[in-house]
Amino acid sequence: MGKRWCFFCLSLVGVILLTGCWDRRELEERAPMLAIAIDVDEEDEERYRMTVQIPIPIKIAGSTGQGGGGNTDAVKIMSVTGRTITDATNNLQLRLNQRLFLGHTRVLAISEEVAREGIEEILDGFRREPLIRRLLWPIIVKGRASSLLEIKPELTQIPVVYIMDLVENGRKTGIIPNKTLGDYFNETSNKAMQPFLNYVEANKRDVKWKGIAIFRDHKMVGSLPPVQTWTLLQLRDQKRGGDVIMPLRGHEQAFVTFRPHFVNTDLTFHPKQNGLEARFSCELQGDIVEVIKGGARFASPEDFIHKMEKELKREMESRAQTMIQKVQEQANSDILRLGLRLRAHHYHDYWVSHNWHKEFKNFPIQVEYTIKLRRLGMEMQQ
């Protein structure tokens, strides 16, 4: 009896564990779109041109026996047009042997031309599709968006991986903002905020991060270069940003490079004659990483540190002024999250009585930097 039960249980375990799946879909039987690029069709202005990048599993080195070889062969780039994005996707499906799969899409490249006309209608399909991840990166591309997918980076087999690594490493070091699709959705739904997205330019071999594209009501209205983006990141997200390379005043060939390590920003609002005034106070801690003296002399190390802190403060504040002027006057788009803070903390005394959409342009913003130089690197001489 016991033996029989034992046999029964074993065969039951076998039946449960050794099952197959009759309607399985193997990885190779899907066509994952790693990246999607959206342009305006050259022939018909009304239509979108969608370019996608699909990896070819067998060509990726390390997967099966001999592979690798050519760099560009690892992916297939296809381009279709359509009245809407879903229309284009369906047209693409007509040309593919496998079913398209959106679950692995990591990059959505949008050309500047499309972005300037507004991307709300493009993103609607992405909102509804359950497979789309909110963590994918929409990126605005200068020129044609498809150029981003056509790069041959050599360092990685799949171009999208190159772009992903670029953004990912930038995000980790605090140089490139991590703007995901989810952030864009949140910031456009929110009436107190405006979004921005990463802005890149692609050439044949690689990609260059060119700062950020500023949006207002789903339309791109301007851009910030990297240096100003870093200031924005310091003020908005307390991210460190890149190195500050500053020419020394009064000396022609003298440059000092400062590397911020820790950022601490406080945003406060102070009453002014009619309304409020925003005051950012930003504390930067960091090191000097390069000094090209070019004839500059300092009396003592103390004097050097003191002077540098003063100079850097002046430099950072002027950068911030330029950035804010650009954001307020040219773009007129609150990417600084001032509106959110105002709504959150000054709802009754400010928000209800003002139309932020119009007020932002003339809202007074003060920026005050505090620089704390901690180290001079391995070199002790100033």
Binding site: P130, R133, L135, T180, S189, N190, R337, L340, H345, H348
Partner: protein
């Protein structure tokens, strides 16, 4: 009647089992839509709505516990005739209590169907895209049917086992998503009127429905005086989980974006990155675990309906098994009545209203009747109140 009493006294739930029973019944499909419904009126202050909603739920559960305390070992179906009529005429009592019991059981019955439908809807829209809705609903029914084949003590133990499986993932998601939170989204604290606060709390009520199963299950407790306490902790745990989920939803998305998301909690799971975890797509894992949460809601309510019927007709386990099989057929048809997602949410909003009226109204009515008959009752059955 004697047989029934012998049945009931055989099982005894511990306080912990009662807490598990209440919490796991309350937490079900509501948790997926709660961040949206809670913020629809209250905006940034949406997290207040589960807090206020839980007060109403607790008050109602407290009345139910008190009722059950007065008739230890008896379920609602059994003691309802005793309340309405003197002991000498059980038939009269039965007829008067018929509409109340019928209302309760049919509400639970329809609620079971709606929960299964919403569950099916989520699964079909987000993970199993090509599976017919009916298959998912029938699978859930089969699970509930399997539970209905057993006696009450099995229900308690199943809930006890599944309890951590329900609580831990939801808490984990709420806390893990705080790393992306922007606390500015939670302010200003007060911007809406008192009326909207009440309306907002009403939106959360549907998520708190389900505790009325305790009308049946409170009969099987070990100690007669721990019922209010078990009810309190059951609701408290649910409230904490709900509030955390709503806070996480608002802090990650902001209330405006929440209004645009059909399944906000699912989106929360999707946009949560857990550093160091192998799983990148948490939502499939979350949904797999969440099946347990829905199962306890569906199966517990369905069990309560079937057990109520069994006691009404004074039948045994065999009756329960047959009826539980048969009743799935009309339930399946009810489940398929709503034609689209919008209709489903509309119906669940009506269900919230019905739930509010039933759960606050019926126990109050019973207490008023008890109070009116009180003096006579006390003199006759002085020992009834434990």
């Amino acid at each position: 009647m004697k047989r029934q009493e012998a049945d009931s006294s055989r099982y005894s739930f511990t306080s912990w089992q009662q807490i598990c029973l209440i919490t796991s019944t309350l937490i079900g499909v509501g948790v997926l839509t709660l961040p949206r419904t809670a913020t629809s009126r209250l905006m940034e202050a949406g997290w207040m709505s589960p807090l206020i909603g839980s007060l109403g739920a607790y008050f109602s559960l407290w009345m139910i516990a008190k009722l059950s305390r007065r008739f230890p070992g008896l379920t609602f179906v059994e003691y309802s005739p005793l309340i309405w009529a003197p002991k000498g005429s059980p038939r009269l009592g039965k007829w008067i209590s018929f509409p109340w019991i019928f209302a309760y059981l049919s509400f639970l019955y329809v609620a079971t169907g709606m929960v299964s439908r919403i569950f099916g809807e989520v699964v079909v829209t987000s993970v199993l895209l090509d599976t017919p809705l009916e298959v998912i609903i029938i699978t859930m029914f089969l699970l509930a049917f399997f539970l209905s084949l057993h006696e009450v003590d099995v229900v308690a133990r199943v809930n006890e086992i599944l309890f951590p499986l329900i609580i831990v993932p939801v808490l984990f998601i709420a806390i893990a998503s705080f790393q992306k939170a922007d606390w500015n989204y939670l302010f200003p604290l007060i911007r809406v009127s008192g009326k909207s606060v009440m309306e907002g709390a009403y939106e959360a009520i549907y998520s708190f429905s389900g505790f009325e199963i305790m009308l049946i299950f409170f009969a099987f407790t070990k100690r007669n005086d721990g019922k209010e306490k078990a009810g309190f902790f059951g609701i408290l745990i649910t409230m904490v989980v709900y509030t955390l989920i709503v806070v996480a939803g608002i802090a990650v998305f902001g209330f405006e974006e929440l209004q645009r998301l059909t399944w906000p909690t699912l989106e929360l799971v999707k946009s949560t990155e857990v550093p160091g975890l192998i799983l990148e797509r948490l939502e499939s894992a979350f949904l797999a675990v969440w099946v347990a949460a829905v199962f306890t809601t569906v199966a517990n309510s369905y069990y309560a309906v079937i057990y109520g019927l069994r006691q009404w007709f004074k039948k045994g386990l065999r009756f329960q098994r047959v009826v539980s099989g048969l009743l799935f057929i009309p339930l399946f048809i009810i489940t398929l009545i709503p034609q689209n997602v919008v209709e489903i949410f509309q119906i669940s909003s009506y269900m919230g209203m019905a739930n509010l009226i039933l759960n606050l109204g019926v126990p109050s009515v019973y207490w008023i009747v008890l109070a009116l008959r009180g003096r006579r009752w006390e003199s006759k059955e002085g020992k009834a109140d434990g």
